[in-house]
Symmetry: C2
Subunit: 592 residues, 2 copies
């Protein structure tokens, strides 16, 4: 099915009408891109996704990666697709032109991530991991390391990984055991075992560049004693093996065409990235970029699930409408006539369009934070990105899984069998709630790190524009039906924030007990803020001829659905937050 | 892991303290069973599940059923396990002693269904389908048919199926095309193709007895022209083939050790079950029994997910408690110290224990409806079962899937890989939300058929006891913290009921638009009603020595969690119900 026609209009609406990507042209580096490159690039990328990546999605899932004596083979067609992908320059879309990158804004990358994940999430893992490695190196590596590694990561000849997890530690990186012993030549010998390493071994590239967390001999205990090293599979100077081996690959619920590897390092040569014992900082560079990427996986799966479910709901004939026959010439009506089917479809539509707006807003601020000439503007944009990153990661991946499951439900039994490919979306989507920090960890990041920072400095970057928007528009009678509930739930969100800040100060378990519900509530209010603005822009775009009336009316209807049936979930979350930590902590572990 | 020690205490608490299964001893048929047979039987059954079925769960998933030229082979060990299962008499636990059954109450069957599904949901499909065939035959078959087929279904030598779905119709059985032509000898020739037939072909039994929906030549159109036929794979008089063949089996998301077959009937000999053109009635006998069985699948998966997640949460060391080190002798604290892990565990615990109480209450009423000497009592019990069946089916399977996903989340990356067996629970659980009527259809059954019947006659069987309970206990100060919120949400449920009844009368789409949210709200209130009673019984059981203080305190803590963090979801559902159908129906199909 033609999976990318539908969202392209929505993508352009958000980029140009809602968020005005043209504002980036104030940033010299982006002038050309924002003037007239963005749309053609995205259209070209959508074509590649549809014609090259999407056709390999089901076959890749069925075939899986093969492991044979340390060698990993990707499913049929992946190598050729990867070649097309790299030839098109897609690996270096937003990378530094100094090293051969195209230097496009991050927003273009973000748009592409959704399309890639919608068409083939497993495939997207390979260039996605390279991007994380690029980011860490580009930010923290020495010039020599950059010159050696970055150009080939940008062309895609080499790929990257993030080697953090060990058998006994995932979330708790302070427990890492992998060792790094200094050598005389300034390099290090790395020894240890890493698990769950995506793209740790495969046959797509000439070399694989591992970014490995390890401990120096004299390192302090815990997270303050972790350093980041770059450890190539083959040494770049002589192309010799570097004692990096893949012990096995995991059989998983989904993303089966993405290799998940046990990686063994045995006196493998590595070089320090960033400062000794400051590996966690460098890792967070990779991690924040990866978290936004994972958020786009959630959105991508939700979008392709929606498109499949919508096509099926229009096509499948079953029962008559309860209010009278709608298709008298057919043996039954298409199931899209049924309210409960529409409830699921609209949930998917309201989520994907709202989350796309929120993601792009974040990505544009990422661009501003990186390249705007004014430091104050950069800092403020950076604060907003830091605040929204855990929210996007957790909410969008939770909803990606939920939307995939709505698609299964709409397909009925046909959704559960492998033939239609729908159940794969749920299996693939499920990992995104877990990796790059479980969604519970995202929620702790939000209430623990982001909320309290400098008396709510980050929060203001979201609260102020929402407050201003409400003030400005609360008397606009066309928008009132949306602005008033937004104002109501925004007030509750502020109240919840104050309660968590106060109670959490006295007892950190109180903040943690509220965290997941608070993150969801925050995301709902943020989506409400996006939706009311989309309604405003849709009203303004009428009679401009840029979009069909159907398209613009659908925006208003979908917003109505969101405010009536999705946003009120925030009430429930608010009550859960108020209920406090006692109902979780008072039961003894032995009494569970 | 020893999966069944934990729930046995909970099972006995519900059977004997909460619901007082001994009341069934007023029914002559059950006197012996309820006096002293129930506990030993359940313990014996739990042993069988743990020692025989559970060890085949992961291997069965990995191996799947094999299809070769019409023959289906179940995974290794299934045949031997099925023999042990039948030798123990488990197929005929609640079946009619006249035909060789053990004549135990249905409640015993219900208890066993949970244990079987917790240990091996795929395995449970085979005897489960036989049970449905038994029910339809026993209720609607002629004496001759009963004598021919029932004894061997009870021993398990033969198994049964339900052949309803065809490629173009699942929910909409009015579209069925399979034909039945009358023969001179009183039998019929059945021709057609059925899909998604669980246990349609396999190697566990000597014969397979299909119950097939088909149309007579002169049948009226739609559901009023469907008849039910019994069509054996081998004819019972001469053991000849009956032109019943399996065309293929489906590859599915889960329950991979249960065969899901395309079944072809070509002039296969069949006999009418029940009256001509009244097949839907007979089918509903199977279906209602099957729906309760599916509800127990949801509960079973939730229970085994909980037990796995709990064991992992006590064992896995990761991070320190936010309120100070809890296990100073270990490198980190077990993750059960973290509030968000507890939130997920308590969701599972509150659901499984509450839903078990609700399921057993329903099953005991099923027994009363079948065998109580007083017709009025029988009728009232039947009404309660009819009302609760769609609620149990949809809510418990939704929560089964949700709990399996909580277990994955608690396991982190280890939950996503196949090795631990946790992701299988989510894949297996997912089908239960779809088959035997999707959960959307359950919700329509609730608001469409059950709500309005005879001016709310069915509803009174639930509303009256809840009302009486609240009246009686609202001044009990030990129970007040539970009775008052129950009263509040019960009032909202009554209000929602009235609104749906009124608006649905004028526009049936209004009822349908509210249906899924209403069902969830109803289930939450029903669970609240179970939980407040469990608290009452736990308080009464203190100092009796029957249960440990830990066990009884946990009941009260878990209830507190349920009322604080789960029941308030009903507020959200209430708002969605109030929002009406317009926000679903006003958007045109083309504008999606």
């Amino acid at each position: 099915m033609p999976i990318f026609n539908a969202p392209l209009d929505n993508i352009k609406f958000v980029l140009h009408d809602l968020l005005n990507v043209e504002q980036l042209s104030n940033i010299p580096d982006y002038e050309e891109a924002t003037r007239d490159l963005i749309n053609p690039i995205i259209e070209e990328g959508a074509k590649l996704c549809e014609q090259t990546l999407f056709p390999l999605n089901q076959s890749g899932d069925k075939e899986e990666c093969h492991f044979d004596n340390g060698k990993v083979t990707t499913p049929k067609g992946f190598k050729e697709a990867y070649e097309l992908f790299t030839q098109g320059g897609w690996c270096g879309l937003s990378s530094d032109p100094k090293y051969g990158g195209m230097g496009m804004p991050q927003i273009v990358n973000t748009v592409m991530q959704e399309l890639i994940c919608a068409s083939n999430m497993s495939f997207g893992m390979y260039p996605g991991l390279s991007q994380g490695a690029y980011d860490a190196l580009h930010m923290h590596g020495t010039d020599e390391l950059k010159e050696t590694y970055i150009p080939k990561l940008i062309t895609g000849q080499w790929s990257g990984t993030m080697c953090l997890t060990e058998p006994h530690c995932g979330t708790d990186l302070g427990l890492i055991k992998t060792k790094a012993l200094p050598s005389d030549d300034g390099s290090y010998n790395i020894t240890g075992t890493k698990i769950f390493i995506s793209a740790g071994e495969h046959d797509l590239t000439e070399n694989i560049i591992h970014l490995v967390l390890a401990r120096l001999p004299d390192a302090p205990k815990g997270v303050k004693g972790i350093s980041l090293f770059i450890v190539p599979k083959y040494l770049p100077d002589d192309n010799n093996q570097n004692n990096v081996s893949c012990g096995s690959i995991e059989h998983k619920m989904g993303i089966k065409a993405s290799s998940t590897c046990v990686m063994n390092f045995e006196n493998s040569k590595g070089w320090l990235v960033g400062k000794a014992n400051k590996g966690l900082n460098a890792m967070f560079t990779m991690m924040n970029s990866a978290r936004l990427g994972v958020a786009m996986q959630g959105l991508g799966i939700a979008e392709v699930s929606y498109q499949n479910a919508l096509a099926y709901a229009k096509d499948r004939l079953q029962m008559r409408s309860l209010t009278g026959i709608k298709s008298p010439d057919k043996p039954a009506d298409p199931i899209i006539v049924h309210p409960d089917i529409r409830r699921m479809l609209l949930t998917m539509k309201a989520f994907t369009e709202g989350a796309r707006a929120l993601s792009y807003w974040t990505a544009i601020n990422l661009d501003i934070s990186l390249k705007h000439p004014d430091e104050k503007v950069r800092k403020e944009a950076d604060d907003l990105v830091a605040l929204l990153t855990p929210i996007l990661k957790a909410y969008q991946t939770d909803m990606g899984f939920e939307c995939a499951n709505h698609a299964i439900q709409i397909h009925g039994g046909h959704g559960y069998i492998s033939e239609y490919g729908i159940e794969q979306y749920a299996r693939d989507a499920r990992i995104a709630q877990i990796y790059e920090g479980t969604n519970g960890i995202q929620a702790l990041d939000l209430v623990g790190r982001k909320l309290g920072k400098d008396m709510g400095r980050l929060l203001r970057r979201f609260f102020h524009p929402v407050y201003d928007y409400i003030q400005k528009n609360q008397s606009n009678h066309e928008l009132q039906e949306f602005v008033l509930p937004l104002a109501k739930y925004f007030a509750k969100l502020q109240q919840a924030t104050a309660i968590i800040a106060e109670k959490g100060m006295a007892n950190p378990d109180e903040a943690a007990a509220a965290s997941t519900d608070y993150l969801r509530m925050f995301a709902l209010v943020a989506l409400g803020y996006m939706w009311v603005q989309m309604v405003e822009k849709a009203i303004n775009a009428k009679d401009t001829g840029k979009y069909s009336d159907e398209f613009l009316d659908a925006k208003i209807h979908t917003a109505r659905f969101f405010f009536s049936r999705m946003l009120p979930e925030a009430d429930y979350k608010f009550k859960a937050i108020l209920s406090g930590a006692e109902n979780l902590m008072n039961i003894k572990a032995e009494s569970f």
